[in-house]
Symmetry: C2
DNA sequence: CAACCATACTCGTTTTAACGACTATTGTCA
DNA sequence: TGACAATAGTCGTTAAAACGAGTATGGTTG
């Protein structure tokens, strides 16, 4: 997350309820992301990189890099170099398809899987530590509300 | 927000409720931020810059730049150059304090205020468009839940 | 008052992200 | 089939963010 707002207190004008939600979302997400980033740093991984690896773990047969881009937010052009960095570290591999020679298939390597495996536990623990106090009930409400919120937006 | 996860579908393992919330938060915030960024782009402003300006609007007497940094997430060192860019555009002004000559006071300029004023309406409209469909009730629940979530962390 | 620590920024450098233009294949249809 | 458009990635460049070290000023204390 690009990190943005934190408090903005001092600005006395109370915004619309919609804006309030937006600001709260931003602050909360930002705070949580910071925690995750700290955990990932132990493996020298950015959260974007972590995400790519997780996406690839979910697709053992590999994915064309356009598909990766579309599952993330970052645009096509940037994925190339993101993958470059991961490939340099042997966490993924790329190979050009023989059928459609335009597409490049990307797969996670054994090294990549191991790295993810090392992170699984700390990441889960981090999430529990940050959000566990909410309890099932509220976690569920929150998830539901967010789904509804997102469903409408384009 | 640095833009990160979007879908991650394909990864069949259903995570903990905490992780689910985290992912939903990330996706939602990301989607909403994207919308805001689009609006800000009309004035060639990044969301970080927008935030600084809003913070400063709330503090007519100016703020030392360390205080700005602490109200945002970004670290001290980076605020300097962020302000550099804003100053170059005459949106803020800086002057060294006479009392404590270490601190630099930052103020928003008339130009800066005008720019914000031009954005106020579109930004509000954007938020309503994105989240208005939730209705008072759910907006409020969401805000409350987020506050609770954040209260505990760190 | 002199040495020392803390504070408040600034500067240098390396990574990343963002935007645009460019290349290579494939698919379409006149 | 031959021109044209669409698709899939890559490359170049500029702008931000991240991390660390450095500078100046102000407070503290022996």
């Amino acid at each position: 997350m690009k990190a943005t707002v934190k408090s903005d207190k001092g600005d006395r004008r109370i915004g619309s309820p919609e804006e309030t939600v937006f600001l709260e979302l931003t602050r909360t997400t930002d705070m949580l992301s910071r925690g995750l980033a700290g955990i990932l740093k132990s493996e020298d991984l950015s959260s974007t990189q972590y995400n790519v690896l997780r996406i690839l773990r979910g697709a053992p047969d590999g994915l064309p890099c356009g598909e990766i881009a579309s599952r993330m937010i970052t645009r096509d052009p940037d994925v190339t170099r993101l993958l470059d960095r991961l490939e340099k570290r042997k966490l993924i591999s790329r190979c050009r398809e023989t059928k459609d020679r335009r597409t490049v298939m990307v797969r996670i390597t054994a090294d990549g899987l191991q790295l993810l495996a090392r992170l699984d536990e700390p990441v889960q623990a981090g999430h529990r530590k940050q959000l566990g106090h909410l309890g099932r009930e509220r976690l569920r409400s929150l998830t539901d509300l967010l789904l509804v919120a997102r469903s409408q937006v384009l």
